[in-house]
Structure formats: C-alpha cells, structure tokens
C-alpha cells in the first residue's frame, strides 16, 4: 500500500516552496504558463486516482473537466452570475453529476470495455456542446466576465489578477494533493488499491466493489471539475475541444508519463510534458511528430514513468543492502 518516503516528502516540500516563490522572479508570461501547468497537474492527479489507484483506465476524463468550464460559461454568460460562491459549487456539481451518470454506466464493465465506454460516453457530451448553437457550437465561447469572490464590499480574491490566480491554482493543487493523500490512507483508499489488485477477493471479503469504484469515479470527476473551474477562471474560454477525446488522451499521457499510482507523478508529468511541448513547438511546426515519438519511447522504455525512474535512482542511491532482504 502507498507510503510516502522521507525523500519524497522532502522533495515535495521543496517543490511546493519553489512554486510558492516562483512569482518573485518569474515574468508575467511564465506566471500564466505555470498556472496553466498547475491546472493540468490537478486534472492529471484526479485521473490518477482512477488509473493509478483504482485501476480504472478512463479515456473520457476530459468530459468532467470541460463540463465544469461550460457550467461556468453558462452561468456567467446566460445568467449573469459571477460570484464564485455560486460558480464553484455549480461547476463541481455539474462535473460530479456527469461523473455519477457516466460512472454508473461504465463501472459495470472493466478493463478494455471500460476504456472504450468512457471514451464513447465522453464523446457524447462532446457532441452535445459541439452541436448546440446555444453553447457556441464548434467555435466555443468567451466567458464574458471573470468570477468574483467577495463578502459584501470586501474582495477576497481578484480573479483578474494573474498572481492571485496563480496562488489559487497552487492552493487547489496542494489541497487536492492533501485530500487525495488522506483518502488513500482511509479504508476507502485501501479498498481502492485492493480492488485494483484483486477485485473478486475484495468482493468475497465483503466490499461493495461497484460502490467503491463509483465513489472513486465521482471524486475523480469532481476534482477534474475543480481543474475545469480554474481553467474557466484562467482562460475565460469554453470550447468543445476541452471535452474531446484528444484532451482525454493528452491528460492520460501526463499521468502515465509522470508515473501513475503516485500522487506526485501526474504533477511531474504535467510539468515535463507541457514544458516539453512548449519547447518542441519552438523547434518545429512538426512538434506533434516529436511528441508522438516521445510518447512511444516512454511507453517502451519507461513503463513506470518518471516517478519510476526516480524511484529506481533513489533505491540505487540507498544501496543494495535492503533490497536483498525479503525479495
């Protein structure tokens, strides 16, 4: 069962500290860019709960990300609501409900069926937004105003400020990390890991496997919704592509490349992949080609992702004394 080693914990604290201090020297553009990376890190982390811990490979996770963006867009543009006190619960609620519905249908299957069904059901949501004139169709729509967060006249958070948005994203990322860490240490988390290892045995022990999976699916969807809310606040733009299967595939790449089944892996994956994409794009217009080669190389040679690479390096550094012990 998952434990955080001391070294990993130190690395985490250092990384968080670095991110907290980054705006001191990072220029405006990179503050924006790192905000985006953190949103995707959160998004990837939510998927990892399914893929890495519950063993549920969802190829439709972007649906929950995108639906939160559209929930914000709808409320702001169509109803004039801007208060985050309404927008945030609405975004999370929309994602949670979509996740409950899609999850309920999908978890009745497993393995490869699950992959295909999540993919197809998410496409259904994609087409819904893609086809409806009301939601801006294929063009998508700008979100007319940024969310506001105020108590009376007191503005608690200015969503228009890139800096405050940056720290909001950082706080959400850290918060989600802690939340997931807590979940994974609870009996629920143990159940999840047990289900991935041996579903039938868990049933015989008395676990309602479907229920545990559905709860995990809804939590993951809701966290993706949180990422979606931040994306809406950050980009103020809603487009059907956010729900599409390419987006789902992309976030899966972040998770696997970073290392699934660890909480920090997806974060690592988001930083590495998004920065690399940005770098490749400066090299050539054919950067997707490089990205494809890169993805394949990772699958072939780094099946445990970057986190696995780190673990291997760390265990080498620790010496061989222990590993000889009990195999």
């Amino acid at each position: 069962m998952p434990h955080l080693s001391r070294a990993a914990l130190t690395a985490l604290v250092l990384a968080t500290g670095f991110l907290a201090l980054f705006p001191l020297w990072g220029d405006t553009f990179y503050i924006r860019f790192v905000t985006k990376i953190m949103v995707y890190a959160l998004f990837a982390m939510s998927l990892d709960l399914l893929v890495g811990y519950a063993g549920l490979v969802s190829l439709g996770h972007a649906a929950f990300f995108g639906i939160a963006v559209y929930a914000v867009a709808g409320l702001v543009n169509k109803a004039g609501v801007t208060s985050a006190f309404v927008l945030l619960p609405a975004a999370l609620g929309a994602s949670a409900m979509a996740a409950a519905a899609i999850g309920w249908l999908s978890i009745r299957t497993s393995g490869v069926y699950f992959i295909m069904i999540t993919l197809a059901l998410a496409q259904m949501l994609f087409y819904f937004f893609n086809d409806q004139k009301y939601w801006g169709g294929t063009d998508g729509m700008n979100i007319d105003q940024r969310p506001t967060l105020a108590l009376g006249d007191l503005t608690l958070l200015n969503f228009g400020s890139r800096l405050q948005l940056y720290y909001l994203a950082l706080a959400c990322l850290a918060g989600a990390f802690v939340l997931l860490a807590v979940l994974l240490r609870s009996p629920f988390g143990h159940a999840l890991v047990g289900i991935r290892a041996n579903e039938g045995r868990m049933r015989a022990l008395g676990y309602d496997v479907q229920r545990v999976k559905l709860i995990a699916f809804v939590i993951a969807g809701t966290l993706a919704g949180l990422a979606g809310f931040l994306e809406a606040a950050r980009s103020t733009f809603a487009t059907p592509a956010l729900l599409g299967w390419h987006e789902s595939g992309h976030v899966l790449v972040l998770v696997i490349l970073g290392g699934m089944g660890t909480l920090y892996g997806p974060v690592l994956g988001a930083f590495v992949v998004l920065l690399l994409e940005d770098y490749f794009a400066t090299l050539t217009d054919r950067w997707l080609l490089i990205m494809g080669v890169f993805v394949i190389a990772v699958v072939m040679f780094l099946p445990d992702g970057l986190a696995g690479l780190f673990r291997r390096v760390a265990s080498l550094a620790r010496g061989r004394g222990r590993s000889a012990g009990d195999g």
Partner: protein, 398 residues
C-alpha cells in the same frame, strides 16, 4: 535582425520570400520612450487542415509589406509568427504568448473563428489592436465589436446574402438549406435566408449535419423528397468536395440547381470535376476579376511562392495594405490609437478584389461577385451586390 523560431520569429517582411530585409534605420521621433521597432504578432494556422490558408495569407501579406519597403509608417518591424494549430483551447494561451511574452504591439489572425474569439478577448484585455485576415464569424463584429478590432476579409453573412437574390433571379421560389451544424454555417444560411425570403422565396427546410461529418446521404434523400427549386449549402474543403460529388451522384445536380458561397468551389472545383460544373457561387473575390491589380498580384504571387493565388492570399495582401496605410497615417505610432482607429475606419483599400472601405463595425464594405464553374474554370459572371456591408447588428463600440 535576429531570426528566431517558434513557431518561428520571422524578422522583417522579406524572410521566406527572398526579399531583402530592411536596414537598421530608426526614426528619431521614436528614439525616446518608444521602442525602435514595431512588433507584430501573426497568429495563423501553419499545420493542420487550414495550413494552406495560413501560408497564403502570411506570404501575401509579407509581399505587400515588402512592396512598401519593409517599413510601416517609416518604422521597422519584426513579425513574430506563431502556429495556432486551429486549436481553440490554445487560442488564449497563444495570443497571450504573443502579447505578453513577446510583447507584440498588435495581433493579426486568424482562420478559425473559435480561435479568433479567444484572441479577441486577450487583445481586448491587453488593449491591443487585432486585425482579422480571414475568420468570418458574424458575432466578432456584431455584438463582439470593439474599437480596436478590424476585419479585412468578410463576414460569413456577406457572401451569402446576395446569393438569395441570385437564386430568385434564376427563377427559384423554394429552397432547401444545408450546412454543417456550426456557427459559420448558421451565419451563412442566415444571409441567404434574409434575401431569399425578403424576395418572396420560401425555405422548405434547413438540414444540419454534425460537424465535421461528411456523410450526406440522409440529407440528399431529404432534398430529393422535398423537391425544392434550389439548394443552398455552406461547406468548405473536404466537405465541399464530397458534397458536390454526392450531390451529382444522387442525380440531384441535373434537376435542382445548387448555390453556395464561393468557399464551396474554391480550391476544390478541379478535384470535383463535373460535379462542380455549372454551380453558381457568390464571393468577395473571383480569380478572373478583370482589373490590373488582380492580374499583377496573381502573377507576382505565383512567382514568389510558386503557388496559385486564391481569395485567402488576397485577404492577406489586403491586410498588408491595411497595415501600411493605417500606420502611414500615424507615422508608425501604434500608441496613437485614437488616430489610428480613425484612419483605419476611413480606409480605402485598393485590392485585387476591387476597392473596398470599412463599415462602422469595422468590416469591409465590398462588392460581392457572382461566379460559375464552367469548363474546368471558375468564371466571373458579374457583380451580385455592389458595396455590401454586414448589418453589424448589435455593435455598439462600447
């Protein structure tokens, strides 16, 4: 001038076209408190489905800037070029990259309406000019219009509107409309509907196909059973080619005349062969427009790029003219934004498509031409509507 790439930074106008870049002259006026060079962010698709459009717009615009001596209002400039991949989710980030990271003074772009929506908002937030060399979504210059947003191409409504009159004149009383279920399609159908119903025509049905599906059979069967006098469609690229072929194969072409905006046939009528033959379309450009400027431009463009000129190249060229004239008026000072808005609003652009001016909502007021594919060529038939402006409904320039 340094040459960097991200998406390649092309310095000056000439690079890539073999035109010598301008030297290092800095007008004294800007020596203090002003950057010496203008920086223009060019965001267009250089990969993906719309890549050809992006390249034609870019190259033609640079051609025009080179003709003006690679100076804008006497100032040198750098062009920062960025591939938008026609990906709306990346629109905001890419626009921010140009305006915030590269500190561009203005933005030009792009083809995909969804991406422009995103760009427009970033440009507004950063209070920078945006010139649109293609995307025709009507909302951009209607309820989304802002003082610093200009379009040098067309609105989707524009080429469609005269088509209704053309169909009426040809004797059609009833029509079936068909398009992809997406904003450009809706805009275009509306244009046709406005004129066709005003002239007494009747729309029997609007058939929508989910974008970008190209399975048209169900729609064609419906058309056959409704038996309208004419059909108006908005499709482009792969869809347009396939639609024309399917329309012919379904035996409809001989019985029910097909109309569309020029995008239906442009670029694909040769591939379509007999399926395109005889189809009448309306557009703000025609290949064989008989004016000296068009003839010269087409020859020059072919020579410089070894590609055939098309309406997108013309729009790129005109965007160049637009920049040259406007910045001339303010002597290269993009900071003089009130004056520049005024100058641009008063523009008279001498274009291969003929002279055009700008409307109150910053759209071209231009002639729309009637063309017909005939004998493997797209032929100019005449002016379908003189000096047509988009109604600009809902534009308040707040």
């Amino acid at each position: 001038m340094t040459l960097r790439t991200r998406r390649r930074f092309l310095a000056g106008a000439g690079a890539g076209l073999g035109v010598a870049a301008a030297g290092g002259f800095v007008p004294t006026r800007f020596a203090i408190g002003q950057k010496a060079k203008l920086k223009i962010g060019l965001m267009l698709p250089y990969t993906g489905t719309y890549a050809a459009l992006g390249h034609n717009i870019t190259d033609a615009m640079k051609m025009r800037l080179a003709e003006a001596g690679n100076k804008l209002g006497g100032r040198e400039y750098d062009i920062v070029q960025l591939d938008d991949e026609s990906a709306p989710p990346k629109g905001k980030d890419n626009a921010a990259r140009l305006l915030v990271r590269e500190k561009c003074d203005m933005l030009i772009g792009t083809v995909h309406s969804g991406v422009v929506l995103a760009m427009a908002q970033v440009a507004k937030e950063e209070d920078k000019f945006l010139v649109i060399p293609n995307a025709g979504a009507v909302d951009l210059t209607r309820k989304g219009c802002t003082p610093k947003l200009f379009r040098t191409s067309f609105s989707n409504w524009q080429p469609a509107f005269p088509c209704g009159d053309v169909a009426l004149k040809d004797g059609a009383k009833t029509a079936v409309l068909m398009t992809w279920n997406y904003p450009a399609g809706h805009d275009s159908l509306q244009g046709f509907k406005d004129s066709f119903t005003k002239g007494g025509g009747k729309i029997l049905k609007e058939i929508l196909i989910d974008f970008p599906n190209v399975e048209f059979q169900a729609g064609l069967t419906e058309i056959a059973s409704l038996k309208p006098d004419c059909v108006y469609v908005f499709f482009a690229g792969a869809g347009a080619l396939k639609f024309m072929k399917d329309y012919e194969a379904a035996g409809l072409k001989a019985k029910i005349s097909l109309y569309g905006p020029g995008f239906l046939t442009d670029g694909v009528y040769r591939e379509a062969g007999s399926a395109a033959s005889g189809i009448k379309t309306t557009l703000h450009y025609a290949d064989d427009l008989d004016n000296p400027m068009n003839r010269k431009f087409r020859a020059d463009f072919k020579k410089q790029t070894n590609r055939d000129c098309d309406v997108y190249a013309v729009q790129g060229y005109d965007t160049g003219t637009f920049l040259v004239q406007g910045l001339q008026a303010v002597q290269g000072d993009l900071g003089a934004d009130k004056a520049l808005v005024k100058a641009w609003e008063a523009s008279k652009i001498d274009s291969p498509r003929g002279m055009f001016t700008l409307s109150k909502s910053h759209d071209p007021v231009q002639d729309i031409y009637l063309r017909q594919v005939w004998g493997g060529e797209e032929k100019y038939l005449g002016v379908a509507h003189k000096a047509l402006a988009d109604p600009g409904t809902g534009c308040t320039m707040a």
